[in-house]
Amino acid sequence: MRYAMAVDTKKCVGCSDCVVACQTENHVPIGYCRDWVVEVMDGTYPQLEIEIRSERCNHCANAPCVRCCPTGASHFSDGGIVLVKPTKCIGCGACIASCPYDARYPHPEGHVDKCTFCLHRVKKGLQPACVAVCPTKCMYFGDLDDPKSDVSVVLKKRKWKTLIPEAGTQPQLYFLI
């Protein structure tokens, strides 16, 4: 099993519903976010192009945060999802410094916090909160090892990219372009 997510940059309108849904679902402390929207504007007026991406932890297959963690609090869970166990985390910040996507943050309670791909929902057969709530249905989630899953089908049909694959992290968050 290999969980992954694809985000359609052509359909995303940058409404930030995914951000709010995540904050509500996961009780993210005020002022923090586990997912966020990035807008990249390219070119000079009037030849402008915009790409909108809903970003979050890439749940890398070769995750530097798991490698750098001195206690094993950062670990791979079901389907390669990268999780933090708060009672094992000492809050040293090594994983935060090691993430090229800056997807982690120190929770006000002390431990490190991040996107979980809503594993608690996925286990119940539900979609992650951000995917479920998206008004343009631009996000796809599923198991890459299953050729019939939403994410496998859309990645076969469409062109896609990942963010800084040259960092060697093997990210599992795909952007349809």
Binding site: Y32, M41, R67, K88, I90, C92, P106, E109, G110, H111
Partner: protein, 313 residues
């Protein structure tokens, strides 16, 4: 012309706009750890070489401050943790791929060794010191018989501690400025150099000071070589590393790095030490303090500049 404007909705405290997760505690610890490693290295080295009598300060006096340095360093590491009550989780596992785990276990080993090392020499400062209990005296007598094996253990641990302070940074691929294997040897050389400087400050023996001035000159030249090498490596590497080197070549950290670290911390003391060897009158306190100052500035600047360097996407 191609222009790009990136707007991100993320504003997490301590992460955005520039990573700011590690503050003064980490560079202070790296400095103290390097200094402790340097002093223990020379102390153990001269015992192995059988030259205790020629270098009384290095072998007997300087190790007395090492436990103090390490305890302050450990306290500052503890202060750096965001989830302090769970710090003991470090000692429930060994993670071979995590430099921080290596460092935690090295400190666990070297701190008690440094206490023993200091205890064996405490009579240098307090001649009337009495251990009171016979079992402590027995242990002391046993240790004195095993000085050379002890010195070998200490010297290996000191080198691991010195290198580790640099590897801690260089293991982070996400921060291109840190992601160079030069940092390990550079921090080791700097730690040994600050150790030599501390011994020079404490020593009252002219010959010993001259020897350490010679050692320090060699170490500073190695450091300068490694720094030049580091920038050559960056400039010949990928865009992210070129960009990170620019922090020091025209960017925000240019003046502090070249003035405080390279100028005041390396070039001025090396010139003063050469003058001293040439029998010119140079108060030793000046180059030795400058080396210590340069050492601490180097850790602070690399810690902060590294967090300002990042992948571009």
């Amino acid at each position: 012309m191609k222009e790009e404007l990136i707007i991100s909705g993320r504003m997490n405290p301590k992460i955005d706009p520039v990573l700011n997760i590690w503050h003064w505690q980490i560079p202070l610890y790296l400095f103290l750890g390097g200094l402790a490693a340097g002093i223990l290295f020379f102390s153990a080295l001269y015992i192995i070489l059988g030259k205790e009598d020629k270098f009384p300060t290095a072998v007997k006096k300087a190790p007395l401050i090492v436990p103090v340095l390490l305890v302050i360093g450990l306290l500052s590491l503890l202060l750096d943790l965001n989830h302090k009550p769970y710090f003991w989780q470090l000692y429930t596992t060994i993670k071979f791929q995590s430099p921080m785990s290596w460092g935690a276990w090295t400190l666990m080993a070297i701190t008690p060794v440094s206490f023993v090392w200091a205890a064996l020499n405490i009579k240098e400062i307090f001649p009337k010191w009495d251990w009171k209990y016979p079992f402590i005296k027995d242990f002391e007598a046993w240790c004195r018989k095993q000085m050379v094996p002890w010195a070998w253990v200490t010297i290996v641990l000191a080198v691991i501690l010195g290198v580790y302070t640099g590897i801690l940074f260089s293991a982070f691929n996400a921060r291109p400025l840190w992601n160079t294997s030069i940092l390990g040897p550079l921090f080791l050389a700097s730690g040994l150099s600050t150790g030599a400087a501390a011994i020079m400050l404490m020593s009252k023996n002219k010959e010993e000071r001259m020897t350490f001035a010679r050692i320090d000159i060699l170490l500073i030249v190695i450091e300068l070589f490694l720094i030049i090498h580091m920038f050559m490596g960056f400039m010949a590497s990928t865009e992210v590393q070129i960009e990170s080197a620019r922090l020091f070549l025209g960017g925000k950290y240019t003046a502090p790095f070249w003035i405080f670290v390279v100028g005041m911390g390396l070039i001025v003391p090396v010139i003063l030490e050469i003058l001293e060897l040439a029998r010119k009158k140079v108060p030793i306190i000046v180059p030795a303090s400058l080396v210590l100052f340069g050492g601490i500035m180097m850790r602070f600047i690399i810690a902060y500049a590294g967090q300002a360097s990042r992948w571009l996407y």
